[in-house]
Symmetry: C2
Subunit: 614 residues, 2 copies
Amino acid sequence: MPRAGDEQVTFQPMGRRADPQPGHNLLQLAQNAGVGLEAPCGGKGLCGKCRVRPEGQATPLTPAEKALLGPEAGLGLRLACQTALPQGGAVWVPPESRSQRQVILTSGQSGELELDQAVRAYPVRVPPPSLKQPEAAQERIFSALAAVAADRLSSSPELPFSLLQRLPGLLAGGGDLKVTLRKGREIVDLGTAQEGPPLGLAVDLGTTTVVAYLCDLDSGKLLAVSSEMNPQVPYGDDVISRMSLCAGGPQELSKLSRAAVECVNALALDACAQAGARPSRILECVMVGNSAMHHIFLALDPASLAIAPYAPVARGPVEVKARQAGLALGLEAWLYWLPLKAGFVGADIVAAALAVGADELEEPTLLLDLGTNGEMVLAAGGRMLACSTAAGPALEGGHIAQGMRGAPGAVERATLEPGAASAGLRVIGGQRPVGFCGSGLVSLISCLLQAGALLPSGGFDPERGKGLVRPGEHGLEFVAAPAGATGHGRDLVLTSQDVAEVQLAKAAIRAGAEVLMAEMGIERISRVLLAGAFGNYLDPGEAARIGLFPPVPVERILGVGNAAGVGAVMALLSQKQRRRAEELAQAMGYVELSGHPLFQDLFVDSMAFPGGDA
Amino acid sequence: MPRAGDEQVTFQPMGRRADPQPGHNLLQLAQNAGVGLEAPCGGKGLCGKCRVRPEGQATPLTPAEKALLGPEAGLGLRLACQTALPQGGAVWVPPESRSQRQVILTSGQSGELELDQAVRAYPVRVPPPSLKQPEAAQERIFSALAAVAADRLSSSPELPFSLLQRLPGLLAGGGDLKVTLRKGREIVDLGTAQEGPPLGLAVDLGTTTVVAYLCDLDSGKLLAVSSEMNPQVPYGDDVISRMSLCAGGPQELSKLSRAAVECVNALALDACAQAGARPSRILECVMVGNSAMHHIFLALDPASLAIAPYAPVARGPVEVKARQAGLALGLEAWLYWLPLKAGFVGADIVAAALAVGADELEEPTLLLDLGTNGEMVLAAGGRMLACSTAAGPALEGGHIAQGMRGAPGAVERATLEPGAASAGLRVIGGQRPVGFCGSGLVSLISCLLQAGALLPSGGFDPERGKGLVRPGEHGLEFVAAPAGATGHGRDLVLTSQDVAEVQLAKAAIRAGAEVLMAEMGIERISRVLLAGAFGNYLDPGEAARIGLFPPVPVERILGVGNAAGVGAVMALLSQKQRRRAEELAQAMGYVELSGHPLFQDLFVDSMAFPGGDA
């Protein structure tokens, strides 16, 4: 039932609202609300770029959408130019649909985010000294700056030593300069008047993937995006193995730290090359990542993160000169790491919570970042509670006999027609299958449950699975593809043990969510937001069918893309958002599950899959 | 005539007062006033250490003084244990007479300087984290610090990155630590509870000599003093030649800068070796020096100092991480340079003004630092006005045919008995003379004036100088010592040109002082304080006789030793004194003589020596 507030259309994660108007589709509403959507065809239903996920009663799929969206239409994706929400509701805009101009916004009324940059450049005219006023060059710079930025300049401005040393060369006599000021207090760059705009870099340091967003800090425009596999992956797939490596001594920590730092330097270089800029123009850098990535990047010994009580070395925002952390950006650029909440609730979750506006969500909403650790936040009516579950690597394909990452050759979706003797498989890259990635596992298990071949207990049903399951080395197993149809020439099978691993993972996640609900006195959640890549690939119906989270209507399970990256960009472009992230991290409660009295029972209760006809 | 305020005895430069008491000598009064004087013999007139310069009507010289002071008794020096000032007056305590314990003082009522260190160490007990309170190590440090230093800790304390990185190793679990806090805001050191006291280094970077004072920042005690010739001397004796060298390019500036920095590092090492400490324990460094030394040390291009309007690059206090300036002290130690007043009125003058309390002097007092540039401050009733005169190097022995620095072999004092055919010479080191240093020149010219061999115009009088002067290559000259009595086997002569050089120097100094008097509306000065080594060696009577400064009673011309160094130590031990120096530099007026309407005339008027019977 639509609630009173639902009569408006709310674009998320920006939180911008518009009143539905007869004859206006979502693309037009988005434009009214100042939300920029990619629409190179001008809204004619030809390009298929304006994809959104409406939440609520939408108008039916059009033929153009069926043609352009293909199977994705089944995942709740729609084209904004073909869709209306007559009764209002939320519309989630994935990052790839946002037009570059407004993902990161201009400012003022038509933007999604009010610009409030920490770093701003001012052109100044510095007078020469005279015998009557033989003022020092430093004083003349400060006076000239006060003339143009009086309202922003602190009473005790600072000029770093390296820039003081550069001053005589730049300012032989008087001259026109461009002065870049940070937080109204510290000059972080001095250049000629012709110098280009100051740039900013937002980095999401994921365990697997590192993404860097380069922005023009004058206009707020996104100039380039560059991403790369985390070069720490060869040292261990997950944070636990990397933290173990660091226990080997400071040189090991230093090696891993260096790898991540150099990766960010390379991404900055690449993004600058795309934008035709120099990395030395990057005068502010914001980073997010989980607590282990945070510690290792900053060369803070992560040992205490790995053992109870999982206390970080630093939890509040870390703000250091970028060069001190090894970054090759502007010489006086600062690096700002968003705060962590706890040892296993990192800056990435804080950033994701910022991106979806968790502090302002009214309806009980579960924000879930699925990975080796299922980190999650339950938000409702301004309250937020977070936890982290040791879900294990099953949902990333780990500990699965033929599991793999979401790479070419991985089964990402499965179908099982009633009575069919084998499964229909969608494989990344379209080639022959060689393994299962997380979304494929969830999909296949969901099909097997629906077909009755898999029992809620997690055991294969030899009766109903007849022709589908066979005895394997360690109990029954399901043959998803025979040797002749696979890429590696062996049968592709799902074992009983694989199913048990997925059960462990989903039980941990669901039990975690239920502990949060119990702690907050919430009986029913009304929305699930899946952050991160995995969340985007997961089919909401299938996820619900295996019981990955507490019951929630399928259309209210939404992928929100790289919310952590979006949060990092928000904090780069706006000091208000930075403070909001800090307040949000403070306000967010945290439940340590390992000592929680309810967790163990809920975990055991959650092992079973929902009844076969769920 | 003693004025009302003169009934007290005031010990300078500390400014501590005591009432004269019948039967109490100056040593006892000093002890009452909390002024520590060296007196290993316990005040029995045996050791000769408690030397002071009383200003006013003192009791007559005792036989013990005559024996222990020798010719220095003639310079106004007295032994405090042998002297009383029944009618009050000022007593100047040279640095070498101050007892180490109180040169730099303990604190409280018995000290001369109230300690108010920027840097303080606190022992803290840091609790381990718990599952209930899994606080970050950084937060636990801050909480533990707040528990012991609540009244001093800022609301937003800072932990530098290098110390954050060291935290996990120091704080595995909980533990007892010593935390060193700067200005209540930044932690500058973390160590075990057993770590010694934080140390501080005050450095007077002179053009010729560099002196470093190592202090215990807990007690304020002076632990060691180390000094060395400025290693820039081989690149040029004076600041002008060194600045010219810097004009050769950044690598030349860098070379000179490096030389000075390494000299300070070597002095720190030596002082620490004397005190049995490590340089890494030095957590605060204060420096003073003239504007050229300041710029070159900090690798700030001094070009603008050398040309009108002589604007410095930075004038206010420069506060940078010591390591950024190249100093090898504590990793997070700060370097604080006292402010400059102008291009040729440096931090050394500001420090000297602080040391003598120029901002609180009532009677018109001229503080003079004699060197290549005669820098001076006229202070009266809280007002201060400074200028710098291009005195030239004559008073340092430069541009003098047989001039030299005050090194062994230099004539430092001359006497000329009436009717004698040659001068009596006192030579540094007691050897045969090889040249004249500044004080020797002044002394000799004074004798020649008194004997009438030199006319007030500066020309030798062939009549009255008969037997003393002879024709030389460039006019008349005086033979101070014949070839047979010198160290180099040549006649030691004072030429007419030498006399002219001294006239130029003294005219510039005196004219500068008179401009200051005119600007301040002061007709008569009542005291001259001579800062620096030269001031200590100069005979006040002789200086007055050549007219080096406006007329002032001879007993009111006082050497105040290395006042700049004392000022640096004061700023090291007390933030109040540091602020006072900053305020003093602000409050001090500055007159640029090169454009001043009175200067040229006064300079010409001052060329002549006072009448021969002056």
